[in-house]
């Protein structure tokens, strides 16, 4: 009798019932689509982080330097004695990327021992700057070139600008070559996490765990090609020769690789950063621990900058950021509004349907049906509409997901600020200094998981139950005497 009655009643008002179910479906479908879309955007953001910091990195720890540090780079261009005039020179300087302060290597072990941390690895990102050329000849004007800051290029005409404080060289200054490349110090015992983890080996090999102080280097393929290095060649780093053992490319289309990778210990030595690192890569034991680990690290290192994928997301600009903002603000509110509207419509229609069955329910009560039995009937009708709405909502949500997958828009993300000039001025042609802007392109998907389907059906059921509760309350207030009402 229970199911027969439900079925017959829904069939009688099938148009209304379908409208209610459809309303719930649209509200629920929108929630599913927006949630799937937001999930896709979040996945894209993870891809961005992983391509920048390597798959498996959940948190990075750095410390920004105060401005007073990292003063102007001076290369001691003053030839000093006359004897050196006209001679060729070459100077190399290896420093941490400007804006990054080094952290003690002990911090890495400290972080590794925190609760929720699976692994922590330190890295050192450096820039090597090379200046080479010929010392200037003294000129008749007597204006010998004093210490020149990097960034000055040459002019070889006879124009002199006496009295000017610019560092325009005087006549007969030979051209000066300035080149730079980025160096990453890699913990050879843990290459799975850290700078190398965002790269793919193309030729040769990467470090073995015993090569802590061996002068071997892994180069980025593009840098090697540019400068005609191959596996087996020698590359001069800070005056010493290193053997190239392998070439790598960046994975996931990012531009975040360094030019040269060497063992961490050597990187520390050449940059006067003994037992120091300037980046710590942290892997959490599980995604749910990330927030907790972040706060623990901040407690241990109050001055450090601790960045998770979520934080990175807020620095991201470009179409990925717009997409994520769209999902989180407009999309979320739209979905919530649609769901509330759907619930309201379902409640109203259910209550009005009950109001039109006053005599019917009054009669049943007069026949001895308990109130809860009548309420159960109303709830049953409502739940059925909820289930139908849920199924339709899932279909709508999946259709939305297929549409997104079909069009699969490519979103771009640019992370970090463009390189800010250090106090000494940036030499022309210098590419990324550590924190330079990096752009990643990702495809947007909107995955619909089983949990999402369960959420959809659950929401629709909730809507049905809510409407049923309202209708049931109305039905419970009917009296048997209503069966005897003369006026309909």
């Amino acid at each position: 009798m229970f199911f027969t009655y439900i079925y017959r009643e829904l069939r009688r008002r099938h148009r209304q019932a379908l409208l209610t179910a459809l309303g719930l479906a649209v509200g629920v479908g929108l929630v599913v689509a927006v949630t799937a879309y937001a999930g896709g955007v979040s996945k894209a953001q993870d891809t961005v982080l992983h391509s920048l910091y390597g798959v498996g990195t959940d948190i990075t720890v750095t410390q920004t330097a105060k401005l007073s540090q990292g003063g102007p780079q001076s290369f001691q261009m003053n030839p000093g004695s006359q004897s050196k005039q006209g001679k060729a020179f070459s100077r190399a300087s290896v420093r941490s990327a400007p804006g990054q302060q080094s952290l003690a290597a002990t911090k890495v072990t400290q972080i590794a021992s925190l609760n929720g941390v699976k692994q922590a690895v330190g890295g050192l990102t450096l820039t090597s700057m090379n200046v080479s050329g010929k010392f200037a000849q003294a000129t008749s004007s007597g204006a010998a070139p004093g210490s020149q800051s990097s960034g000055s290029s040459s002019s070889s005409s006879g124009s002199s600008s006496s009295g000017s404080s610019q560092s325009t060289p005087t006549a007969s200054q030979a051209p000066i070559d300035v080149s730079s490349f980025s160096i990453s110090g890699v913990d050879v015992a843990q290459t799975g996490l850290g700078p190398l983890s965002s790269t793919q080996l193309t030729t040769g090999r990467i470090f073995t765990s015993t090569e802590t102080a061996t002068k071997v280097a892994v180069l980025s393929q593009s840098y090697a090609k540019q400068n005609q290095y191959a596996v087996g060649s020698k590359i001069k780093i800070s005056g010493k020769k290193y053997t190239v053992i392998g070439l790598v490319t960046s994975s996931a289309g990012s531009t975040s690789t360094s030019d040269v990778y060497i063992p961490l210990q050597l990187a520390q030595t050449i940059s006067d950063n003994a037992d120091k690192v300037n980046e710590i890569y942290v892997k959490a034991t599980s995604a749910s621990d990330i927030a907790k680990v972040k706060s623990e690290i901040k407690t241990a290192l109050p001055k450090a900058t601790v960045t998770t994928a979520a934080d990175l997301a807020s620095q991201v600009s470009g179409s990925l950021k717009s997409a994520s903002q769209l999902a989180s603000t407009l999309g979320k509110w739209l979905a919530v509004a649609a769901l509330v509207a759907a619930f309201a419509v379902a409640c109203l229609l259910t209550v009005s349907a009950v109001s039109r069955r006053v005599r019917e329910f009054g009669t049943l009560k007069a026949l001895g049906w308990r109130s809860r039995r009548v309420v159960g009937q109303v709830m049953g009708e409502s739940v059925v509409q909820g289930v139908v709405g849920g199924i339709l909502g899932v279909i709508i949500g999946i259709a939305g997901e297929l549409a997104i997958a079909h069009f699969s828009p490519v979103l771009k993300a640019t992370v970090g600020q463009s390189s800010t000039a250090g106090p000494g001025g940036a030499p022309p042609g210098a590419g990324g200094f550590g924190q330079a802007a990096q752009t990643v392109a990702v495809h947007l998907t909107a995955p619909v998981s089983l949990q999402l389907v369960a959420l959809a059906v659950g929401l629709a059921l909730a809507g049905g139950l809510l409407a049923g509760a309202f209708g049931g309350w109305r039905a419970s207030r009917l009296r048997p005497a209503d069966a005897l009402r003369r006026v309909d």
């Binding site: 009798m1 069939r11 009688r12 009669t363 026949l367 001895g368 005497a481 069966a483 005897l484």
Partner: protein, 256 residues
């Protein structure tokens, strides 16, 4: 006495307006009585039926049914009485429009929690008892008024209640069907010895009863007197007699 009502009143209030639907009723009804309750609109006869049918409680007074005071019973106990001891018949039939004739009769058995097969069997039997066995699978909209009321009677009787309460059972029917229905009720009443309480404005229907009660403005009029405004009848008031008389006698001025 099956029913003993003493000083029963029913007051309805809406805001500051109050209406005394029943203004002090003293009434007894014996088991097996066939009682007709008459009165004009607003006299309180429907309200009295509600009291007797445990559909509502009196505001004041005592209403004993089988020794139990209906005025003091909780909703659960009243519901129990309605499902086990009473059968109702309504003026507008009050069948569930989406259910078949048999299913409508079955609704009366839902509170009994009998198994589906048992329920169907009893419902079928009750329908047969009112001569509508072959209409079991029809829904109300496919049946005439008389057939629907028969289904309603089957529904009221399927539980073999002690009391049958009918609110204007023939109010929506034509005269011939009215006669059939009342005839059926009478027959069943005689067969089973149930107490039959009928609210009606139809004097012919009332005349079939063994007792007639008049209500006026919530009070009982003394029984047995001639009622003002009642027309003297030629014959017994049934349709058949009316037609026969019309054929035999041309229109004549009413006799005093």
């Amino acid at each position: 006495m099956l029913y003993e009502l003493t000083g029963v009143t029913k007051r309805y209030s809406r805001g500051r307006k109050t209406v005394d639907a029943l203004a002090g009723i003293d009434l007894t009804i014996g088991e097996g009585d066939f009682v007709a309750i008459q009165g004009s609109t607003g006299s309180g006869k429907t309200t009295l039926l509600q009291m007797l049918g445990a559909m509502d409680r009196p505001s004041t007074g005592e209403a004993l049914y089988d020794g139990r005071d209906l005025a003091k019973m909780g909703e659960g106990d009243l519901s129990e009485l309605r499902s086990h001891s009473y059968g109702f018949i309504f003026q507008a039939f009050n069948l569930i429009p989406t259910l078949t004739a048999q299913e409508n009769v079955e609704t009366a058995l839902v509170p009994w929690h009998v198994g589906g097969d048992e329920r169907r069997r009893r419902a079928r039997e009750a329908l047969d008892g009112v001569g509508l066995g072959e209409r079991a699978r029809h829904i109300p909209s496919e049946m005439s008024g008389g057939e629907q009321q028969r289904v309603a009677i089957a529904r009221a009787l399927v539980r073999e209640p002690r009391v049958i309460l009918a609110d204007e059972p023939t109010g929506n029917l034509d005269e011939r069907t009215r006669d059939d229905i009342i005839g059926l009720l009478e027959e069943l009443w005689r067969e089973r010895g149930q107490t039959l309480i009928v609210v009606t404005h139809d004097t012919w229907v009332a005349s079939r009863a063994s007792r007639r009660i008049w209500l006026d403005a919530g009070k009982l009029a003394p029984e047995g007197d001639a009622r003002p405004g009642e027309e003297p009848q030629v014959g017994d008031g049934s349709a058949e007699t009316d037609e026969a008389v019309d054929q035999l006698m041309p229109e004549q001025p009413a006799l005093v």
